[in-house]
């Protein structure tokens, strides 16, 4: 529909999203995305000039402010065992990963 959808480059978006899609997925998701994005193009027609940030001014009681940040003091967190308990691969006190250069 809208010309903007020609700009939907599935390969570029998948790379940004760190998703390695196979050719079948590329075909399927590309056509679904174009459909969905066309469906959303109705938003572009809406005049939002009356919008100002004030409408986002959330009830003051609702959220914290800077004074709620905790003091910069030492506190007890997780111990080593807890921190590493879910790591897929580890050695001593380190998470072990495969090489990162030579992509």
């Amino acid at each position: 529909m809208g010309s903007e959808n020609k700009h939907f480059d599935i390969n570029k978006i998948a790379e940004l999203a760190k998703l390695n899609l196979d050719p079948k997925e590329i075909e399927k998701f590309e056509s679904q995305m174009v459909d969905i994005i066309s469906h959303f193009s109705s938003l572009q027609k809406i005049d939002t000039s009356s919008f100002n940030l004030k409408s986002w001014e959330i009830d003051k009681n609702k959220i914290a402010d800077v004074s709620d940040l905790r003091n910069d003091n030492k506190s007890i967190g997780f111990n080593e065992e807890e921190i590493f308990s879910n790591a897929p691969s580890k050695e001593n006190k380190f998470i072990k990963i495969k090489k990162i250069l030579d992509r």
Partner: protein, 483 residues
């Protein structure tokens, strides 16, 4: 003789307080029932037998200390997107299928403090993305009313487990309707509280500006009790409110209460059967003395695109952390760490991939203003419209879901059709306001839900009004459950 299907949470606590039954006995009854019914409907991902019995024994052995706790001995299931220390928490995904959190979510600590017994982790759509519980890596959960239909989603397992009395209450999360829609499709009560009234610390994040943890129960009284047990300020969630929430007085009529019927959503693809039952509930409110009038909320019809640009954008950022390096499922078959990331992330399911792609697009350079930015501006306009509406009305009502429980497999391959299921529920997430779904009748022998929305922090009033409506409809809703 305890009959789980007839028992409520309040009754359960009373029985235990009067020493007619021990917490361990109750826990065993519901563990057995959970195991049995789970074989039919796949509502639970993990049954926590050992930890539940240990928790029950602790309460029985220190009864005096616990006896006045609000949820004393009540068996509960917790949606598997909410972290439970030392109990597997999968988010319904292969990516977290082996993840064991080293900490409890804030709400889980509150539940334990309140005396509830966590007996299971309930099935849900992968990372809470879905309206049918069919995107779960652990297979779909079935609706206990009719095994050929879905329970709704994403908190389908929570709703189905309460409806089939595998547990008496449950907690889920609601980003666009994920508590209210399954509550509606399973014939129980579910509430999305005001954004900020229940801490999200320990909830596996989906759309952080929309996500809210909330209660499921068989009736409004139990739902209210559970809500006040999990609400409250948490310094670990910067969006957590410091408002002290208070319950509202019990009502014997709706005289003086102004209720707006939200026509903009009440006419969008609502099935005839749902419309009819909804209109009956409007009559009930009229008979109770409420002042009812129609209301139009500007821009509310744009909720679907606003939601499906906002939630996936936030999700694409939140789910960037799953890389197979630090925790969770990891495919280490490649040569480099980049291969690990690629191979691991290819294990997300289709719906999750779709939303990550959509969100990445909406946030990408050159499209941000046109999509994500525009959606946020319209979101602001929707919030304004609700604020104006609540100057005129105390509460706003609509059906919860445009249709009753639909056939398994009937929508899963058509994402845009599936997205329509949340058409009535998404506006409350967009505006941050509280909304409850209560059963209001049957259409084709399947439950229909009534949604009641209110201004920020009006949970107390919503519960009181909902209780009165529930009393007056006297539906004996769960008699129709097959499981």
């Amino acid at each position: 003789m305890i009959e789980p299907s007839k028992l409520t949470a309040v009754e359960c606590t009373n029985l235990i307080q009067n020493k007619e039954v021990s917490v361990t006995e109750i826990t065993k009854i519901f563990l057995e029932r959970s195991k049995e019914i789970n074989l039919d409907i796949n509502s639970l991902i993990t049954i926590c037998e050992d930890s539940a019995l240990k928790q029950a024994e602790e309460i029985d052995n220190n009864f005096e200390e616990y006896k006045n706790k609000p949820l004393l001995g009540v068996p509960i299931s917790v949606k598997d997107v909410i972290s439970t220390k030392n109990i597997k928490t999968t988010a319904g995904s292969k990516i977290l299928s082996n993840y064991i959190p080293p900490y409890d979510a804030f709400v889980v600590k509150k539940l334990v403090d309140a005396g509830a017994i966590i007996i299971s982790k309930s099935n849900c759509d992968e990372f809470a993305m879905g309206s049918s519980n069919e995107t779960s890596f652990f297979g779909p959960c079935l609706n206990p009313w009719d095994f050929n239909t879905v329970p709704g989603g994403s908190s389908g397992g929570s709703a189905a487990s309460v409806a089939s009395s595998q547990n008496l209450i449950s907690i889920g999360s609601d980003t666009g309707g994920s508590i209210r829609q399954p509550a509606s499709l399973c014939g129980i009560v579910g509430m999305k509280p005001t954004y900020g009234s229940v801490s999200r610390s320990g909830l596996i994040a989906f759309g952080s500006s929309l996500d809210q943890i909330g209660p499921f129960a068989k009736n409004v009284q139990d739902c209210e009790k559970l809500f006040y047990s999990i609400a409250g300020h948490d310094p670990k969630d910067l969006t957590s409110s410091k408002n002290v929430l208070e319950s509202f007085k019990d009502l014997d009529s709706l005289k003086g209460i102004k209720i707006g019927i939200c026509n903009d959503i009440s006419d969008q693809g609502i099935s005839e059967g749902v419309k009819k039952v909804f209109e009956d509930s409007v009559d009930t409110m009229k008979n109770l003395g409420a002042e009812l009038d129609e209301i139009s909320i500007d821009y509310i019809k744009e909720s679907l695109p606003v939601y499906y640009l906002t939630a996936p954008s936030e999700a694409s950022s939140n789910l960037n952390r799953y890389d197979g390096i630090k925790y969770g499922y990891s495919d280490q078959n490649g040569k480099t760490s980049w291969d690990t990331i690629d191979l691991t992330r290819s294990n997300f399911g289709d719906e999750v991939k779709r939303r990550i792609l959509l969100g990445t697009f909406a946030l990408s350079s050159g499209y941000y203003d046109e999509y994500y930015g525009k959606a946020q501006k319209i979101r602001g306009l929707i919030i304004n419209s609700f604020n104006e509406a609540f100057n005129k009305f105390d509460l706003i009502i609509s059906p919860t879901s445009p249709i009753t429980a639909f056939k398994l497999g009937s929508q899963i391959n058509d994402p845009l059709l599936m997205y329509q299921n949340d058409i009535c529920t998404m506006p409350a997430n967009i505006a941050g306001i509280p909304a409850i779904s209560i059963p209001c009748g049957l259409s084709n022998k399947l439950p229909v839900g009534l949604q009641i929305m209110g201004p920020n922090f009006s949970e107390g009033k919503i519960f009181s009004v909902a209780k009165l409506i529930e009393d007056n409809m006297s539906l004996n809703m769960l008699d129709g459950v097959k499981a």
